[in-house]
Symmetry: C2
Subunit: 229 residues, 2 copies
């Protein structure tokens, strides 16, 4: 498929690499292609995006409207605080009818670490994006774990759980197929997009588990009791 990834940070790059590895055509979108290309990589290894692109010759860095416009599946891998702006810049017309995977979290770092949530409890970023772009088919997914594990669940020693939420069953089916290509074996459909509240409110526990373990290389596994025979 043609995958358009909005955002060039750790998450955007990890997803780009993952989708290339699983055989897709990847366009990564950024607001200013030249500026992004020459500046140091955000949260990444030493070097610029130009170095990263040289290492990933099949990945094209384009502007936001081009990344969304050429894609069958669009991924919001931008900072939660800037997601609506980025999606608006990508163009609502380029999101119409598209599966839009929302990976962002509405983190608010204004009071330091751990961050609080700018949206929560009675609303979520996933719902806000769905309301703002009603023609997009939003699926909240992959927001619940660190970038390095999103496309490599096999880095953990046992299968873990990936909750998803969205209003459109067909869109969730497309997303589940893409996730299974990464090796996800326990994609848990929580229901409509209001359930994005559950995914996003997991972050406070995720952040504190990060603090306790000293590594982001963990994920939750939902362990069920055996069903009665």
């Amino acid at each position: 498929m043609q995958i358009g990834i909005l955002g060039t940070g750790t998450v955007g790059r990890a997803l780009a690499e993952g989708f290339v590895r699983t055989g897709h055509d990847v366009f990564v979108g950024t607001r200013d292609v030249h500026a992004t290309t020459v500046r140091p990589m955000d949260g990444g290894p030493p070097g610029s995006m130009a170095d990263w692109l040289a290492d990933h010759p099949s990945i094209a860095l384009v502007d936001l409207p081009s990344a969304a416009g050429s894609a069958e599946v669009v991924i919001n891998a931008t900072n939660g605080a800037g997601s609506l702006d980025a999606l608006t810049a990508a163009g609502a017309e380029h999101l119409t009818g598209k599966v839009l995977i929302d990976v962002a979290n509405p983190l608010d770092f204004s009071a330091g670490f751990p961050p609080t949530l700018a949206i929560k409890d009675t609303d979520s970023l996933g719902e806000l994006i769905q309301r703002t772009f009603p023609q997009a088919r939003v699926v909240k997914a992959l927001s619940t774990l660190t970038a390095a594990l999103m496309t490599r669940p096999d880095l953990l020693p046992e299968p873990t759980t990936l909750p998803i939420a969205g209003d459109d069953p067909a869109a969730k089916s497309v997303v589940t197929d893409l996730l299974e290509q990464f090796g996800w074996m326990d994609v848990l459909d929580l229901g409509d997009i209001s359930n994005a509240r559950g995914l996003e409110m997991w972050l406070p526990l995720w952040l504190r588990t990060l603090g306790a373990l000293g590594t982001p290389l963990f994920n939750l596994r939902i362990v069920r009791a055996p069903t009665e025979a």
Copy 2:
């Protein structure tokens, strides 16, 4: 140990049974012993608390001050909305120096199901209780899963994780010992009581997982990447 459990609902009764099973002396506290004894059991099997007490002859039902006053470890197993009132009725003087395990969640059902959180993100019920009763040694624990699993982690087919939070390391050590007696093998200390925010904000995802699975008989397991040799 002498364990004083405040609350006679599903959680209080499950914990009472668990602490008796692991060899402790249990007092269950309620506001009005007579009224609680004769009315139908809250969220329980058919019958009254009198029936339950008849089945559990070693457990004493007493008033809130007596349950807290006689105890070495006090457990807040009351409804989150009523916890401060119940603890106040138990008496701050009966909580001084005591380990106080806070199992409650600040659920707000005023808008229906799933409930929202009355306290969240920049505060938590655990912190509120610690601030209100500064002489108590509050440990948030067991609030992250259904009552039936709190003292029976072996009902799940593999070990799962129980996060705890509190300011007092010695109190957390006491609680961890009690939890290990129930069979908990992965008690994860998140740090000071502000980390109760993480435990309580897990509830929205817990509630939606309940909806998706159709059973509360599940828990999270934090799966870590192997540490490098």
